[in-house]
Amino acid sequence: MSQHLLSSLIFTPVAAALLSLFIPNNSKKTFRVLTLVISAIQLILLIFIVHETRGGSFSSFLLTEKVNWFSIDLGTWGILQAEYFVGMDGLSFSTVTLTVLIMLIAGISSWTIDKNVKGYFILLWILNGAIVGTFVALDFLLFYLFFEFMLLPMYFLIGIWGGPKREYASIKFLLYTLFGSILILIVLIALYISVQNPEVQDQIVHTFNILHMTDPSNYIPGSILDPEQGWMIGSHNSRWWAFLLVFVGFAIKLPAVPFHTWLPDAHVEAPTPISVILAALFLKVGAYGLLRIAYPIFPDVATTLSWFVALVGVISILYGALNALASKDLKRLIAYSSVSHMGFVLLGLASVTTEGVSGAVYQMFSHGIISAILFLIAGVLYDRTQDRMIKNYSGLSSKMPVYFTIVLIGFFASLGLPGFSGFIAEIMILLGAFRSFTANGLIHESFAIIATLGLILGAAYYLWTLQRMFFGPFQVKSEIKPDQLVDLDKREYSMFLPLILLVLLFGIFPQILLDYTNPFAQHFTESLLQAARSIQNP
């Protein structure tokens, strides 16, 4: 049983999706209950995983499953071979846990969907399986497959069940992220023809295995991405271009400025549960890709270009915060704040220090939960009035006091108040980014100092929104009727409560998550710097 825990986690929702093709179309209740059942099964599997991996070393891969997928003999061109290879380390553990939790919350939030319920949930479950698969795949082709598989359900989910401008938003989202995927595909192919499988001695067998790709000794001499060869394209070598391509590919997903403009539209037009999944999980795939693929496979280029990654990170922090300040739509504001917070992840990653990288992974997890809270907050308002314009509301604290408390908690958690998980993440990232200059010389101290401006701007836009929408005498404008503004019902409360408890738990007892991410961060930092040094000075 323990051999197939990860696969069960991936294929449970997919199997449910296939089987439910036989369920009649109009039983909404069945689907609502079924989604909770699937999430419950995933939670149980997760508990098994926690139990099985207790005491294991999270700097290496646990619970691995390796099965030969396909192998085609191409004669003189060698053997085309791909494996079904999945495994979990500290990074994957935190992201998979996040996925299971967020999918449960999204499932509860999906109870508001009315039309084409069957199609909606089938797409949701395929999305579920694809996201978990992306986070545990260790074969690049498998990873790419799951990566692409996330796009199509999302396209339909936004395009059919979304808001007024949903067709525009969904096609923009699809084409933009698909463009990024193509860039990754180019690098995938280049890596494939450059890397050989060290387990096969007598002939050259190419491999998609990510772990083999991270070892510089596995490169075929004279291949395009061989570190010793130095193929030049223009003024830089091929590895430099490959890193840049894969960085842009994942940066589009992150989203990093200036590749972020698909995000506000996609978020604003998507229905609430899909916004939650987009913000909490999708964006983490971008960061995950950088941590799993871009940095370990190209350590030499990554360390040379760390200043660039940090620059993109800091620009994202400030630009996202400024745009949030200028937003007139509540959901757009929260979307831009997501851009800003993911900028912190980039900054932590670029520092390549233990606390910086650990902070980046912590921020991925923390932001996942906090952004779920924030988008559910926007959803509460939208479900009642279909109006998210900030200027149309005033004094909501007196009409909806429980909602006001939740909003207070959500906003202060997002702006990094101590006691919530966001503070731990941000302080680790800032400390790591600042120390990076003296520790490994990768990024200058000014990046961290400028990033603190993002904290001030965060306080500014959140408090301003609180002041405009919640304080003062109660008043609503435009088409909104005061009777529509009912306080939270039990279902909504049941979604917020666990999320808030988690945010508090990981803010007060960070060691719980750090026990998983610390080994990963330490291993990542040490091996990256070592590999970079060995490639640059052969």
Partner: protein, 650 residues
């Protein structure tokens, strides 16, 4: 460092009972909300008693360390150590006792308020966080509690949710504190990069003076500028007066704003001489500016707010000249008399509101709607509010630094410290000395101006029946007033010696200075009498000074507007340029696709059609030979025959 489990337990209890009060207030349902008026004061009394017990029990100059690890990353550990040292044992009873008195007072002041549970919850959480600041041995933990204190300040200033001005003030307070905290954070980063350790027990005993210490200490000072309302970040404090008066007493006079001064004293060994000069200059400038502003205010609470800023400036100056012990003494005395003044102001406001209500109810004119906080509307209240009058007078005398009161002793020690620091040769330091005397003078002026207007001037509202506040509000006033007289601080009313001051540490004393400062105070009293008790030539205020030297306008117009404009630029960039570029590429692609489509239809398909057309034409041409007309067949057969004969015969 020693360890002692009884002290550990007691400290834990003193720290956690206010937190328990917070949690209880959250749990108690609306129906039983009157319960919080009992649970909160009782729990705070427990905390206060334990703190006082610890103050008297723990011997001077010993410290106890309780080691607690919070989390670790890689090989680094972030600790949550608690240290009981001279400073923390001094601050604990101060915070707990004043908080308890404010709790008691609030039971009367906030009676009937809708959000009473939220109010007491936040007061309890504030006390817990403030105790956390003074007990922590770790810079990161201090920062954590520092921010939490800022959060409770936000919630309490904006307590009356329906008041837009309160929300604005709360937001401003949090934002300005955040700006200071960003600086504090940079300071933390510098410390981390150089030592990888936040424990103060290590940081305060560094083997030598490092070059990074100046930058780090100045950045930490940024946090102090924000929290303790120094120049240029002080404008949030006058606005914070929108909150309930007990909140102003506790947070914005006695404790939270004093946290900055406490931090300076706590990390004093980290400061280099250059950093200390900056601190001193900032402090004295703040003290001067604020005292001038206080002299031009008409709202009681605003006068007291500016007075607080000015006193904080004096404390910061004291740290800057190296007399951090004098600063701590002033912090303690200021906490008591300022809280007393604020609670007294609250009592006046409460009594007058009540009188206004009574006038309305009894059917008299509804015009009794004047601003009770404007001192020009008050007058002659000394007969109607005797307890308030006496306590206010005592606390005011202490603020003004009149001999025989606690404020005199503490201010004296500061002036002495500056006196010795400025030495005998003329330098810029003498300017600071002169300014300190000037500030003492102006302090007397604005204090007694306020006292005159409220209690002695001609009565303007004699038709209102004004009565004293309920006893639960009078008791804290009396206690605090008693604490403002000299015997709390030392047995000798003219110099700092005695049981309390030994807790503060060594203080300097000079008889010359004592005489000089007493002389200045006397002079000021005479001046005040002349200006206000005689005809009111000095009623009008200077608007520029009334509005904090125009700083508010500057911040709003220059910084506020420019950030909003920057945000609008960012939004335009996103929409027009980045998205516009994307749309441009999309249009280009679609247009290109149309071109290809045209090419496909007309060129490729066209050539296919052309082929078909040619074969059609050729076909018609060859078909034309089979016309069906016999004459044509004979014609073409004859032509063929002629050609055949031609080739055969030639």
């Amino acid at each position: 460092m020693e360890e002692n489990t009884t002290f550990d337990l007691l400290t834990g209890l003193a720290l956690l009972t206010p937190l328990a009060s917070f949690l209880l207030c959250l749990i108690i349902s609306e129906r039983y909300s009157w319960l919080v008026t009992i649970t909160a004061p009782v729990l705070l009394l427990t905390s206060a008693s334990i703190s006082i017990y610890l103050f008297f029990t723990i011997p001077a100059n010993t410290s106890y360390l309780i080691q607690l690890a919070w989390f670790h990353v890689g090989q680094y550990t972030f600790n949550g150590n608690v240290e009981l040292n001279r400073l923390s044992i001094l601050m604990m009873p101060l915070i707990a006792v004043i908080s308890f008195l404010v709790h008691l007072y609030s039971v009367g002041y906030m009676a009937g308020d809708n959000g009473i549970r939220r109010y007491f919850a936040m007061l309890g959480f504030f006390t817990f966080s403030m105790l956390g600041i003074v007990l922590s041995d770790n810079l990161l933990m201090i920062f954590v509690f520092w921010e939490l204190v800022g959060f409770t300040s936000y919630m309490l200033i904006g307590h009356w949710l329906e008041k837009p001005a309160a929300a604005k003030a709360a937001q401003k307070a949090f934002l300005f504190n955040r700006i200071g905290d960003a600086g504090f954070l940079v300071g933390l980063m510098i410390v981390w990069a150089n030592t990888q350790n936040f424990d103060l027990s290590n940081l305060l005993h560094l083997p030598e003076i490092y070059s990074w210490q100046t930058a780090a200490s100045l950045c930490i000072f940024c946090g102090v500028i924000g929290k303790s309302a120094q120049l240029p970040l002080f404008t949030w404090l006058p606005d914070a007066m929108e909150g309930p008066t007990p909140v102003s007493a506790l947070i914005h006079a006695a404790t939270m704003v004093a946290a900055g001064v406490f931090l300076l004293a706590r990390v004093f060994p980290l400061f280099t001489p250059e950093a200390l000069h900056t601190v001193a200059i900032t402090g004295i400038l703040t003290a001067l500016v604020a005292s001038l502003c206080a002299l031009n205010q008409f709202d009681i609470k605003k006068i007291l707010a500016y007075s607080t800023i000015s006193q904080l400036g004096l404390m910061v100056t004291a740290v800057g000249v190296g007399s951090e012990n004098a600063a701590m003494l002033q912090l303690v005395t200021h906490a008591f008399f300022k809280a007393c003044l604020f609670l007294g102001a609250g009592s006046i406001i409460h009594s007058l509101h009540f009188a206004q209500q009574q006038a309305c109810l009894s059917g008299r004119q509804v015009h009794e709607d004047f601003d009770v906080q404007d001192i020009r509307n008050l007058g002659g209240l000394r007969k109607k509010l005797p307890v308030t009058f006496f306590t206010f007078l005592i606390a005011g005398a202490s603020l003004a630094g009149i001999p025989l009161f606690s404020g005199f002793i503490s201010k004296d020690s500061i002036i002495t410290g500056v006196w010795y620091w400025s030495s005998n040769t003329f330098s810029w330091r003498w300017l600071i000395l002169i300014s300190v005397f000037a500030v003492s003078l102006i302090t007397v002026l604005y204090t007694f101006r306020m006292v005159w207007f409220i209690f002695f001037a001609k009565e303007s509202r004699s038709n209102l029946s004004i009565v004293e506040a309920p006893w639960i509000m009078r008791i804290p006033l009396i206690v605090l007033a008693l604490a403002s007289v000299w015997f709390l601080v030392s047995l000798n009313p003219f110099s700092a010696s005695g049981w309390f001051t030994t807790g503060v540490g060594d203080l300097q004393h000079s008889n010359l200075v004592t005489l000089l400062s007493s002389g200045v105070v006397l002079l000021a009293l005479l001046a005040t009498w002349f200006m206000y008790a005689t005809e009111n030539k000095f009623i009008n205020s200077i608007t520029f000074l009334q509005n904090s030297f125009g700083l508010d306008l500057l911040y709003e117009k220059v910084f506020g507007q420019s950030v909003i404009k920057l945000a609008a630029v960012a939004e335009t960039t996103d929409r027009k340029w980045i998205d516009g570029f994307l749309h441009f590429t999309a249009y280009t692609q679609v247009s290109f696709a149309h071109v290809i489509a045209w090419f496909d239809t007309y060129v490729i398909d066209g050539s296919v059609n052309a082929m078909a057309w040619i074969s059609g034409v050729v076909g018609s041409l060859t078909r034309s030979f089979q016309g069906g007309k016999i004459q044509l067949y004979i014609f073409w057969a004859l032509v063929g025959l002629i050609i055949f004969l031609f080739f055969v015969l030639i």
